[in-house]
């Protein structure tokens, strides 16, 4: 059984069709990437899968539960690292974890242990009692991973996990994501517009453009389909999206992304 399944999943905002009938199947334990330019519909798709947005039509199931009709059970089974900074700068890392441990119903006897284990997993034990406001972008992202894995979800959703991070911080995040799969058997669903991220991390990749999935497969296979030995994922991308430049996005999204970058940088 696939741990994530969508069937003609669609989301419209008035006249705009942000996600146009996508069909995805992700088996357990896979690292699956949704790759595409800004405005392709990736964030909308991930919002539907994490129950933040109801679909306009079509259906989706996460961990066996329908995202619309069994949304509470989906939420209990998933972790989510949004694109926007989602940790509270006015608290310490430990406090952020404590509040979410309580929200997720981690039993009191296990809380300290879980929090300590999560902090250790992302390498933040020493900084645990410092205010998050003083954290670097990489540290914030690592804390967000620690938060998302606290309740040992079966699926972890990551929306543009390394945007705005320097190369070192990015490597650390990639390593942590891979460890999550190896140590906890988590399924990872991420969105990105970085080719090398999709190439490096993902078992399979779906290329999205203008709301549709235009290509789907393992990175090596997609590159091979270009017919050359040294094709890059960039070329694959350009090929399947028709060399389009600006699909648009919108002002709010872009300024918001830039503000996120400013906070992480």
């Amino acid at each position: 059984m696939n741990i994530i399944e969508t069937q003609a999943l669609t989301r419209r905002f008035g006249d705009l069709t942000a996600v146009d009938g996508i069909d995805l199947s992700v088996p357990a334990g896979e690292v699956f990437g949704l790759l595409g330019p800004n405005g392709a519909g990736k964030t909308t798709a991930i919002k539907m899968l994490t129950t933040l947005l109801p679909p306009t039509s079509g259906r989706a199931w996460v961990a066996g539960f329908d995202v619309e009709r069994q949304s509470a059970r989906v939420r209990a089974a998933i972790g989510y690292v949004p694109q926007l900074v989602s940790v509270d700068g006015a608290l310490t890392a430990y406090e952020n974890l404590l509040i979410f441990a309580k929200l997720y119903g981690v039993p009191r006897s296990e809380r300290r242990g879980r929090i300590a284990a999560s902090l250790e997993f992302v390498g933040l034990e020493e900084a645990a009692h410092r205010m998050v406001r003083g954290y670097s972008g990489g540290m914030m992202r690592r804390l967000e991973i620690a938060l998302a894995m606290l309740h040992r979800p079966r699926v972890l959703f990551l929306d543009e996990p390394t945007v705005g991070l320097d190369p070192v911080a990015r490597q650390v995040v990639w390593q942590r994501v891979q460890s999550l799969v190896q140590e906890f058997g988590m399924t990872i669903f991420l969105t990105t517009h970085f080719m090398e991220e999709a190439d490096h991390l993902c078992d399979r990749v779906a290329i999205m453009n203008l709301g549709r999935v235009v290509a789907l497969g393992q990175p090596e296979d997609l590159k091979a389909s270009m017919g050359r030995a040294d094709a890059t994922l960039d070329e694959v991308f350009a090929h399947y999206t028709g060399h389009q430049l600006d699909n648009g996005g919108n002002f709010r999204e872009i300024s918001r992304t830039r503000r996120t970058l400013a906070r992480l940088g």
Binding site: V85, L91, L103
Partner: protein, 257 residues
């Protein structure tokens, strides 16, 4: 049920911990009540411009109004905090947690209450310093605390509803101003209902702030009494809180569209 309470309390705890890290906000928020009581209150007491019911000095009449006003302002400010970019990611996380929308909203309302209580302490100290005859009996203090909690919960949830509808900071600023001042002046915070023109009396009777002030006036100062009766005051406040919470629960998810 226990999980629900735990989730609400977790959100309130978040607020408490933030306050513990940075209590200076309490001092800056005390500025406005200081101006109202120490300047406006003193002046109007002297010139006896506003007739208060009974023998109460105007400053004593005003103090509960100022308390309610500062709680109102904190509540309305709350909505802006929610739609500031820095908190939006956190809203995403909260909405993806297993906590039901109602728990999130009530937790936020409780957080507003916590901030209101800290403000209450400031106004009490200020009033006492200015010579207001404070009622220090524990039952009275407890009653005021409940009135603050419910009042703060009502208005911060109301503010949250506005935030969910307008969704941008600019629009919220515009609407926030438009709503706060009328709420304040169409109440018995600064003057008794008896001296209002009829149209204002009607508005005041429909305003939850009026009942909050009425309860506070009865409980905060010595010799104070309630026009509507404490039973009605607290019932109105409770009903207002629950009504706001119900609406906000429906709208909360709009923040992340």
């Amino acid at each position: 049920m226990a999980a629900f309470a735990r989730q609400c309390l977790a959100l309130a705890e978040m607020e408490l911990r933030k306050l513990r890290h940075d209590p200076t906000e309490l001092a800056t928020r005390a500025l406005q009540p200081t101006l109202w009581l120490a300047v406006f209150g003193e002046v109007f007491t002297r010139i006896r411009a506003i007739p208060t019911t009974g023998q109460m000095r105007y400053l004593d009449f005003l103090a509960p109004g100022v308390l309610a006003q500062s709680v109102l302002f904190i509540g309305i400010f709350y909505g802006i905090a929610v739609i500031w970019e820095r908190d939006l990611g956190i809203v995403h996380k909260l909405l993806v947690s297993p906590a039901p929308r109602v728990a999130l909203v009530l937790g936020k309302a409780l957080s507003g209450g916590v901030r209101g209580l800290s403000q209450g302490v400031a106004v009490y100290l200020l009033s006492w310093f200015l010579g207001v005859g404070i009622n220090w009996r524990p039952a009275a203090l407890a009653g005021v605390a409940v009135a603050i909690l419910l009042g703060a919960a009502t208005f911060s949830t109301f503010s949250l509803i506005i935030a969910c509808i307008v969704r941008t900071r600019e629009r919220f600023m515009g609407i926030g101003q438009v709503l706060t001042m009328p709420l304040f002046f169409a109440s018995n915070a600064v003057y008794p209902i008896a001296i209002m023109p009829n149209w204002l009396k009607v508005a005041a009777h429909l305003n939850p702030l009026t009942y909050e002030v009425d309860a506070m006036r009865a409980l905060m100062v010595r010799g104070g009494s309630s026009i509507f009766g404490l039973g009605l005051d607290f019932t109105v406040l409770l009903a207002a809180t629950l009504a706001m919470a119900a609406i906000a629960s429906r709208l909360y998810a709009n923040l992340v569209r």
